[in-house]
Point group: C2
Chain length 406, copies 2
Amino acid sequence: MKTCSKERLEDKIVTFSKFGDTGKGGITRFSLSPAALEAREEFCKRCKALGMTIKTDDMANIYATLKGEEGLPAIMSGSHMDSVKQGGNYDGILGVLTALEVAETIVTEKIPHRHPITVVVWTNEEGARFEPAMMSSGVITGKFDKDKMLASKDKEGTTFKEALEASGYLGEEANRMKPEENMALVELHIEQGPVLEAEKKDIGVVEGVCGMINYEFTFIGQADHAGTTPMKYRKDALYAATKTIQYLHDELDKLDSKLVYTTGKISAHPNIHTIIPDEVKFTLDARHQDPEVIKQVLAIIKAIPEVIEKCEVSYEEAWSRKTVAYYPEYVDFVEKSAQEYGYSAMRMYSGPGHDAQFIADVIPTTMIFVPSVKGHSHCEKEFTPVEACLKGANVLLQTLLKIDQK
Amino acid sequence: MKTCSKERLEDKIVTFSKFGDTGKGGITRFSLSPAALEAREEFCKRCKALGMTIKTDDMANIYATLKGEEGLPAIMSGSHMDSVKQGGNYDGILGVLTALEVAETIVTEKIPHRHPITVVVWTNEEGARFEPAMMSSGVITGKFDKDKMLASKDKEGTTFKEALEASGYLGEEANRMKPEENMALVELHIEQGPVLEAEKKDIGVVEGVCGMINYEFTFIGQADHAGTTPMKYRKDALYAATKTIQYLHDELDKLDSKLVYTTGKISAHPNIHTIIPDEVKFTLDARHQDPEVIKQVLAIIKAIPEVIEKCEVSYEEAWSRKTVAYYPEYVDFVEKSAQEYGYSAMRMYSGPGHDAQFIADVIPTTMIFVPSVKGHSHCEKEFTPVEACLKGANVLLQTLLKIDQK
């Protein structure tokens, strides 16, 4: 069986880690920033050297295509090259570099294929400079209103439209990926979690993306002086919030063990050590692949009393996402490819969102996960050994070839 | 029995509420700000009209004195005229205005007195512009290092020294209040809490200021992705903090019912709804008049495990204050004066700090509290009806006269 080249893949990872290098093991490579444009230039240079043709669409998504038989739809693979602030060298970029390495292997090993192979780079997946995340895959699949996205501003007040126009990568809307011209998308990504490492698996066979809900809770009490207000007269919004967080833990822990939930954000007002808080807010993020479990979470939320510790309790859904199931045949191809190489693999759902979940609505799509050491992600400690990346690239190669032979 | 004038007192309250008026029922009158200097000017003008002589010391504390018999020590009364941001029209200023009204009553009613009567204004009690609070009473009683205080800067970078020099109120160090020249300080203040109102009492007979401790707790967990990290692998610093707040409530509630404790301030890092918090801090403020109860609080803190929910727990004392007992004879004078007017009164300890607690170290001191409607303070809703203020002024008048007749 053919395999990708560890040396070439390592060179790619090392080369791209220089674009936005923080000097501390990671990168800050905001979408369409100078560092991101350097990465795009290097990517296009390497694609052209392989004889690929390059197009960009009106969201500056890049499609680099290795020719196939005339008239057949293309097989796509890729991810994004932007990062969060002080992010790592693997999130997103590894999906682009492994797809590029697969293309390079196909070219250099002269591996026959009928369908065009397109390496794709989605613009602004992180949403770290311009909100929201997964902006460009969202626009071309009709999830987001393009005009609103173009008006999104970074901290300096630059709009996404201005950044797009200045980038040199603004192309035609006609160049957008289309269901009739593209038969598949396979996105390789780091797991961004500890499960593959803990379970000693080489490959995550991603069956879909977990549904999720995100709620914001608000507790209204009364701001009184810490030194003058007897306990019996108090309406302490932080204590009410504390009781609710404990309740959520107690009840949610009774549900399916695959449920993950997080109270990540909390704020208190006026947040002064000598004043009883009169307003506390916290968020709850809950994710599970089974919509029935998400319903159980909602029932637990709805059972929260309107008044806790004399404080008014309210909550609202900030946002939510339904479970996305990937294309079963391609999911099987990923699993089978791993088996053929003798790699250990496990089926799993993705907790985080990915561009692939939007594309999955219009084109048969799946994903491949490789392990994240200690589960670190979105930080400079993010790491996946090149040997583990190579296994992912090989599985990607075989999966694309299986799709090609359909 | 002689009484102060409601009309005159109301005029004083209304007049001084214009200096720093927020237009929303309160004031912002930072120490030595233009608004505070207007208030000082009006105060001095009124004192001079009563024939009082005015001195200021090296911290711009103002001493306005009504002459008494030669060679006798003065009886002082007063408070501060500065406020917090968007504070009320009573905290501090009412202690100055009632003392001024008492002086005016003595002058206009020709009430005989042997000792000089000094109305005092302490500079920068709130510490809202220049930290710390109770700065100038602290300097003249040796609690704070003067040079450090002079270097304290406001948000614009102006030092307290610069503000002092520009104020026109900078006087000689020799003018500081001295134990040999001052036999008493009686400070009237609003309660800043709900107890007098709830207990339907006109006057708080303040026996002292509660001892207090302030601790900051830190919980170190691990920041992981909300969507990828199974619950069993998590080190959630917010959950650990939540459990500790609950523990503190459970245990502290078993102690004396006069104990007040507050977890007023909380912060989480990175405070993003999709990331498990890796660092959470919160504060605990606990106050009680009996040092033994404070020791019990410390024992409860020390019983907190070093590891909670797999997170490292640490804490440190941010600051503390020992219980201050006021001068028993003068405390009795306050209680007796209230009785003589037929006002209801209760003995109590002050939760908040006041300039009087520093002065109490060097001069026999006590305080009088008047009720705060709904306990509001340090906000624009702060309110005490003029009738209730008048009762306080009358008790202050009688207390000073009792001290005078010692």
